[in-house]
């Protein structure tokens, strides 16, 4: 049985590590990416009785890989073949964040959009309709204010749902093949 891998990806400073910490707690391993000086953080999370490995990717504005951090994120998504990518975006600066989201969608990797910093967005009167965003992008959307611990259980529930669905469709493909 192969392990389930979920990667957290997003622009710099959007709250990826805050979410990573909330998901994995003390079950973390910090090292370096092979041959690189960039920190690699990996942790474990129990979802519906299954162990899921969560990887905290370095911040990236683009998958075109112009910085070392972007190269690492791109390579992991393209070659590491995570089962699911949680794209963390800043709800207070949504537009600029969606550039990377569009690129992630193009890779075809299963994607979940985690709209973080909703507390800041709300304080500025920014109202986001998650259902419309989800319908427009064709991916599930969950809301968080991760530094306050808000939205973490909903995120876990959506991750579990998606992983279960992805697993059964994979099994169906295998049976059909």
């Amino acid at each position: 049985m192969s392990e389930i891998v979920v990667a957290l990806a997003g622009n710099p400073n959007v709250g990826k590590s805050t979410i990573f910490n909330a998901l994995t707690g003390l079950h973390q391993h910090v090292g370096n990416w092979p041959g690189k000086t960039v920190e690699r953080k990996e942790g474990r999370l129990l979802l519906n009785g299954k162990t899921v490995t969560v990887v905290d990717l370095p911040g990236a504005y683009s998958l075109a890989a112009r910085s070392l951090e972007e190269q690492i994120a791109r390579d992991f998504i393209a070659r590491g073949r995570p089962d699911l990518v949680v794209n963390v975006v800043d709800a207070a600066n949504l537009e600029r964040n969606l550039y990377l989201t569009a690129q992630l969608l193009e890779t075809g990797v299963p994607l979940l959009l985690a709209l973080n910093m909703t507390d800041i967005a709300a304080s500025r009167g920014i109202v986001i309709n998650p259902a419309a965003l989800s319908a427009g992008l064709g991916v599930p959307v969950t809301l968080l204010a991760a530094s306050r611990g808000e939205g973490i259980s909903a995120l876990k529930a959506t991750m579990a749902e998606m992983l279960a669905r992805l697993k059964s469709s994979k099994q169906m493909r295998e049976v059909a093949a």
């Binding site: 504005y61 075109a64 112009r66 600066n93 537009e95 600029r96 550039y99 800041i120």
Partner: protein
């Protein structure tokens, strides 16, 4: 909101003044990267500091240091 008639390079915008990005005048490669970083025509920017070789730019909640040549490529309208 009033804006200057002719776009000027961001390089010459006063500290603290707000400006709107009108266009990017550079090679395709540099323009593309600036766009990825959020320098999309229409966004509002301001200059926070000048190091003597680079400007510290505020772009939404993001702060970015851009070397002078790049700030020369960003054509903006000053808002007041």
């Amino acid at each position: 909101m009033k804006q200057t008639k002719h776009p000027i390079p961001l390089r010459f915008v006063d500290h603290g003044a707000r400006a709107k990005l009108i266009s990017i005048q550079s090679s395709q490669r540099i323009a593309h990267r600036l766009t990825e970083l959020g320098f999309v025509p229409g966004v509002e920017l301001s200059v926070l500091a000048d190091s003597g070789s680079a400007l510290m730019i505020a772009l939404g909640d993001t702060r970015m240091a851009l070397e002078y040549p790049l700030t020369q490529a960003l054509l903006v309208a000053v808002l007041d």
